[in-house]
């Protein structure tokens, strides 16, 4: 599968967006991909995924962005293979505490289920709504630090830090196998992250 494509230094990465419903996953993608924010226009939720290309130094980074909106409530219909993703953005809404707790669970799941080298970013979205904030910047930042995640507070509405979060991910992603690092790499093998848990008499969730 690892054929050398003739496109030079183009790197393609699959990125998944996870988070509770209504935290602004789709808006973040739309803002990044289209450079637009439609206050009342949630277009593109119907698309399977969107792509966006950015330039980083002399490389072209192509993100293939999978918005998992709509899948949150259906356990068995969740993507079977976000294992194939090289990057993930876990989004919460800074005005909704529950969404922050849920983000922690997503991160745990990614660390357990996704490939060991996955780059995970935590995004505290809607930071334009600072007055109704329920999760402080410090809380988000501390959690990210403990878990070795990239962290930014973003606003899809004002575009604050939206391009930046994709940029820091692009910088951190390992640049190997130009263009073949696509979803094809995701195999049926279970490449779960080894856990330190040695207690075999306890459940893992």
């Amino acid at each position: 599968m690892a054929s050398a494509a003739a496109t030079g230094k183009t790197f393609q990465f699959k990125l998944v967006l996870l988070g509770e419903s209504a935290v602004g996953k789709s808006s973040l993608v739309l803002r990044f991909v289209k450079g637009q924010f439609y206050e009342h226009q949630e277009s593109t939720i119907g698309a399977a995924f969107l792509t966006q290309t950015i330039n980083l130094d002399d490389m072209v980074i192509k993100f293939e962005i999978w918005d998992t909106a709509g899948q949150e409530r259906f356990h068995s219909l969740a993507p079977m293979y976000y294992r194939g993703a090289q990057a993930a953005i876990v989004v919460y809404d800074i005005t909704n505490k529950e969404s922050f707790n849920r983000a922690k669970v997503w991160i745990e799941e990614l660390q357990k289920q996704a490939s060991p080298n996955i780059v995970i970013a935590l995004a505290g979205n809607k930071n334009d709504l600072d007055t109704s904030r329920t999760t402080t910047y410090e809380e988000g930042s501390a959690f990210a630090e403990e878990n070795n995640l990239l962290f930014l507070e973003t606003s899809a509405k004002t575009a604050n830090n939206v391009n930046e979060i994709f940029m820091v991910i692009a910088k951190k992603l390992p640049k190997v196998n130009p263009t073949t690092a696509g979803p094809q790499r995701a195999q049926g093998n279970v490449d779960l992250n080894p856990q330190q848990n040695t207690q075999s008499s306890k459940g893992c969730c």
Binding site: M1, S43, I45, E64, L77, M80, K112, N197, C204
Partner: protein, 290 residues
């Protein structure tokens, strides 16, 4: 693929006559239509470009094609029907006023997704296995990947698109509903549509869970009769699974079924098939502290 908006197809003066909510409603309806058309294109490409070529080139036999492509043929007419109905609903000025009725009669047909989604795990398994062992197939898929029509996506990604599409219907219907006035006929019809499509998805989700559980159970290998327990065959779901290390540093793939926890060691059997050899005795759920 470019995102298209409804208002782009209209004259400026017509748009100016509409208020923001009406415009948003039209955009939401148009998005449902446009993404339905995209889906139809993808489905056709999967059938015509991938499956037909694989058949003609004898890369896979009929049984294998049936497993990999599943019920994809049954999905096409359903989505064509919705797209056609949405076109019929369109008024001469380009607006669409009513969609509730057509959605309510259409949604029950989505139950075919039970067959499609429950098969996906087998589809993925066989596709991976054949790609590993069959060089011509690998070559073919690589050529596809590097051709413009695939948009640099692999076959599995396309096969998985209907699943991710299905779960988006409630979101799209909710968006249309949000921009529908309370006194509009569609207001209640859309509420019913949202409930109905969520029921269908729940059904598909439930059955996909059962299928995944059965798939794993069939892959278990026992070393000792003492390991066999009816708790495994009675289980319907896998609540969680992952790799844990035991005290001696041996990696174990652990499956937490609804009735029992099974520790296994993954082994690669003949034909690159992965099996899970049961390690020690499975632990009944009622003996676990969670």
């Amino acid at each position: 693929r470019q995102t298209a908006f409804w208002h782009e197809s209209l004259a400026k003066c017509d748009i100016d006559k509409m208020n923001k909510k009406q415009l948003d409603r039209q955009e939401a309806i148009f998005e449902l239509f446009k993404s339905e058309v995209d889906l139809i294109e993808d489905l056709q490409m999967i059938c015509n470009t991938y499956r037909e070529s694989m058949r003609k080139l004898n890369l896979l036999n009929e049984d294998e094609l049936t497993i990999i492509f599943g019920e994809i043929d049954s999905l096409l007419p359903i989505h064509r029907e919705l797209a056609a109905k949405l076109v019929e609903q369109r008024l001469s000025d380009g607006r669409t006023e009513f969609v509730g009725d057509i959605l309510l009669t259409w949604i029950p047909k989505l139950i075919i997704y039970v067959l499609y989604c429950t098969n996906l795990i087998h589809s993925k398994d066989l596709l991976d296995c054949k790609t590993k062992e069959n060089e011509s197939l690998r070559d073919f898929l690589n050529r596809c990947l590097n051709s413009p029509f695939s948009r640099k996506l692999d076959l599995w990604t396309f096969l998985d698109i209907p699943r991710s599409r299905l779960v988006k219907y409630p979101l799209m219907f909710k968006t249309i509903h949000k921009y529908t006035d309370t006194d509009h006929d569609d207001y209640n019809l859309l509420l019913e549509s949202i409930d109905l499509v969520e029921e269908v998805i729940k059904d598909v989700d439930y059955n996909t869970g059962l299928a995944r559980c059965k798939y794993i159970v069939d892959k278990l290998e026992y070393e000792d009769l003492k390991q066999v327990t009816e708790l495994i065959s009675e289980s319907s779901f896998i609540l969680c699974d992952g790799i844990l290390k035991n005290r001696r540093g041996i990696k174990l793939h652990v499956f937490l079924f609804d009735k029992v926890m099974v520790l296994t060691r993954p082994v690669t059997a003949k034909n690159n098939v992965i099996k899970y050899r049961v390690y020690r005795k499975p632990v009944a759920m009622n003996k676990l502290f969670l």
